[in-house]
Amino acid sequence: MSAALPLYTTPLQRIGHWILWIFCATVLIFLIAPVLVVVPLAFNNEPYFHFPR
């Protein structure tokens, strides 16, 4: 599936394939973003959850 789609793929299947990829990318961002968000906070010298400026 990751390789080029076969020649007989219909346009609808092509769209479905890309929708699946975009959806999965969103879910992966949902999974990884909150974990990465805390990294810059480690460089914060305030007692609150503010991003360092």
């Binding site: 992966l28 949902f30 999974l31 909150p34 503010h50």
Partner: protein, 410 residues
Amino acid sequence: MVADSTTALGQRLRKAERRGHFWAYVLIAPLFLFVALSFIVPLGTVLLNSVYDPIIPDNLSRTVRALDAWNGPRDQVPPEPVFAALAQDLKIAVQEQKAGAIANRLNIEESGLRTIFMRAARRVAAQEEGPWAPFFEAADPAWAQPLIWGNIRNLAEPTHSLFFLSALDSRRLADASVAPQPEDQRIHITIYLRTLGVALTVTLACLALGFPLAYLLAHLRDKTANLLLILVLLPFWTSLLVRTTAWMVVLQKEGVINSLLQAVGLITEPLPLVFNRFGVVAAMTHILLPFMILPMYSVMRQIPASYVRAARSLGASPSTAFLRVYLPQCIPGIGAGALLVFILALGYYITPALLGGSTDQMISYFVADNMGRSLNWGLASALAAILLAAVLVLYAIYDRIAGPGNLKLG
């Protein structure tokens, strides 16, 4: 001769098997002991705590016996011998510093009894002789009312169902009848339903987000799939507390999402994303999503791609091939993931406590509250026992529907 050697062989075989079994049990013994000590004993203590409550029969034993001997109707105040027995019990309780514990236990049943009881205990300690009935009445007129006596008689047995009644929003009145709690104190059933609702929402959200991702991962080349799997495993390996606070950072009023949306100009006022149900469900879905993806992924990987191809070549439309050939083979993974997420979600405490408002707390919050703040361990145990029973019932239903073999964890 042949029969003899067969019997001898059989005996030797059985002996060898017995020895094998013995060593197998010896090898299992440490694990069994560990499970018994670390799991069954604490759980049993909790279950015992929810029905066993000997404070009153232990410390007011004479009073309980005198009440038994009198055995009058509940709407009457007991006669002098009971008061005398109570006075004797109170003197000992004050001496052994147990009066506070008894007063607290009574106060759980009926708020206000603590003051009445402690005042009487202090006065009795300073008094030598009766008659005790008028003396108690002079200490507080409540002693001439049947209410306090009814509550003592409700607690007279060391095992009782009062905690379970309280956990189910009922109470036993002084006249021994069971009645629902006053309207403003009926909270537990609502909270059980809320707990089930949140767990169900989180399970469905995990299923909706996890299924396509597991499908994609299972059908990618190994190299790409392993790379993307790290993105699933990295949050899985991060501490729960870190992820919960991370969601606070993301969702708060001046957090990442609100600043982003305001910078883009989509909103002018910050959206209330945290300290409500949305924040709890979003964070719990994030924390529990790997538990859904991993079993589904491992099951989907083992489904041969040729099945769907065969269905397609035999004339099935893509949707038919997916629904009738592919999906039924995913059921063990879906069932395992959904069950895992649902049961873990039922017991969530930290995430709702940090990201939820007052109306988003789940049952574990109230278990912890009764343990730590209200010091009503019996009620905490009863609440936990009911949650445990609910989980077991739900598991039994799942087992009946999906069948015992239809569960595959990784």
